[in-house]
């Protein structure tokens, strides 16, 4: 790790970190980027642990999608992640792709970013200078843009254990199995709180803050929430899936998600 941080400090933007490589390799193969230096952190075993604290679970950044899917601890305490991982690509990609890699790539349609937002997670960013925690809600800055500084590595994700009796719902709408979704929704409902994160409908995964506030205050205000969730997002100007379509989809997703909650 010290070596990696040292190289990163020296080379900064000219270097690229490769973990599982499932996001970086297509970029390299297509010659969309040609970093001077690749720093392979894939064998830093310290980043492959899931640790349980009293009120949180910490997931090492190098945990692969398949590791998370196989983890009974994640299944018990963070079922949202289990639901979401089934939608990520295909088995051969889940065998290599890591949670840290996915989050650091910050594809606006990626499942795990929205999940971390819904779960109110925080990310450990480590450099030769410092280690700092950044809330998921502060981490995503735009399409493929994050709070990571050129000399920082995302090392862990810390997620508060949801309170007892909380319910997690993950829903997405994709045209084929394993595709990046046209829109998706991660919802965590606890007795006194409701968090809703959306993917694929903005330049980054976003919390539907106004809708959350509305439904937290008045859980039966479903119609108003439908209205609100469609207007509080700013979908990308994509001719294949125009903003009106994605606004419609988040309504569909919210209705589906709410229907999965006990009445």
């Amino acid at each position: 790790m010290a070596d990696a941080l040292g190289l990163l400090a020296r080379h900064g933007d000219d270097a690229a970190i490769v973990a599982g490589g499932q996001s970086l390799l297509p970029i390299l193969n297509f010659r969309l980027a040609a970093p001077e230096l690749l720093i392979d952190i894939g064998r830093l075993d310290d980043l492959k642990q899931i640790t349980e604290g009293d009120d949180y679970i910490e997931i090492g950044a190098l945990l692969r999608h398949c590791d998370l899917a196989d983890s009974p601890l994640i299944g018990r305490d963070l079922p949202l992640l289990h639901q979401a991982i089934n939608h990520i690509a295909h088995p051969a990609v889940r065998h290599r792709g890591t949670i840290g890699g996915s989050l650091a790539m910050a594809d606006p349609a990626a499942e795990l970013g929205a999940c971390c937002l819904a779960l109110d997670g925080a990310f450990s960013l480590l450099s030769g200078r410092e280690q700092r925690w950044v809330a998921a809600s502060d981490f995503f800055k735009g399409v493929y843009e994050t709070a990571l500084q050129p000399d920082e590595i995302l090392t862990a994700i810390r997620i508060p254990k949801p309170v007892r009796n909380s319910i997690s719902v993950f829903e997405e709408i994709a045209r084929r199995r394993g595709d990046f979704a046209m829109a998706g929704l991660a919802l965590v409902a606890a007795p006194n709180s409701l968090r809703i994160a959306l993917l694929g409908v903005a330049d980054r995964p976003v919390l539907a803050g106004q809708t959350m506030a509305l439904l937290s205050a008045n859980p039966t205000a479903v119609d108003a929430a439908m209205e609100m969730i469609a207007t509080e997002i700013e979908p990308p100007d994509d001719p294949a899936y125009p903003p009106a379509y994605r606004r419609h989809l988040v309504q569909v997703l919210l209705r589906r998600a709410l229907s999965r909650l006990p009445q």
Binding site: Q22, L25, N29, L37, L38, H90, P91, H95
Partner: protein, 155 residues
């Protein structure tokens, strides 16, 4: 330590191999062009088509989404190393391939499914193979072949 080339040692289909490779070389190109294991194919270079599917330390991966240097110390298996004979035979019997370009990836993925789930439904099979593009068949003969092998193994 940084360099444009890197010396790696790995096993491919059980055979120990050591080579110096450019860092930017991906694993499937290394297997195909440097080692001559041309059974794995390249169809998209972005992990979408599954033609380059190989087995790395016991798990299927996309050969185009792994750098050769990342395979240092790993055990790689390609279609040339063999795949469950009953599965291969059933692909032949039921004509579960036409041009054969997707077939190595399809076989390795199907073999992995049957290891994890000896009793898959047709939908389970379609789901597990949903990252392997076949342009020739209607997928049905492939699903039939996997399903038939699963049933035969259970009986």
């Amino acid at each position: 330590m940084t360099a444009k080339h890197w010396r790696i040692a790995l096993t491919v289909n059980g055979e120990a191999i050591a080579r110096e490779v450019p860092v930017r070389l991906n694993l499937v190109d290394f297997l195909r062009h440097d080692l001559g294991f041309t059974g794995s194919h390249v169809g998209c270079e972005q992990g979408a088509c599954g033609a380059c599917t190989i087995v790395m330390d016991g798990e299927t991966v996309r050969g185009c989404l792994v750098l050769a240097v990342q395979a240092d110390g790993c055990a790689i298996e390609t279609i040339e190393g063999g795949v469950d004979d009953d599965l291969r035979q059933m692909f032949h019997t039921l004509n579960a391939l036409q041009c054969g370009f997707c077939t190595p990836g399809m076989l390795l993925s199907a073999a992995e499914l049957l290891r994890a789930n000896p009793d898959p439904s047709r939908d389970d099979i379609r789901d597990y193979l949903s990252g392997n593009f076949c342009r020739c068949t209607g997928y049905q003969a492939i699903v039939d072949a996997v399903e038939t092998v699963a049933k035969a193994r259970r009986s």
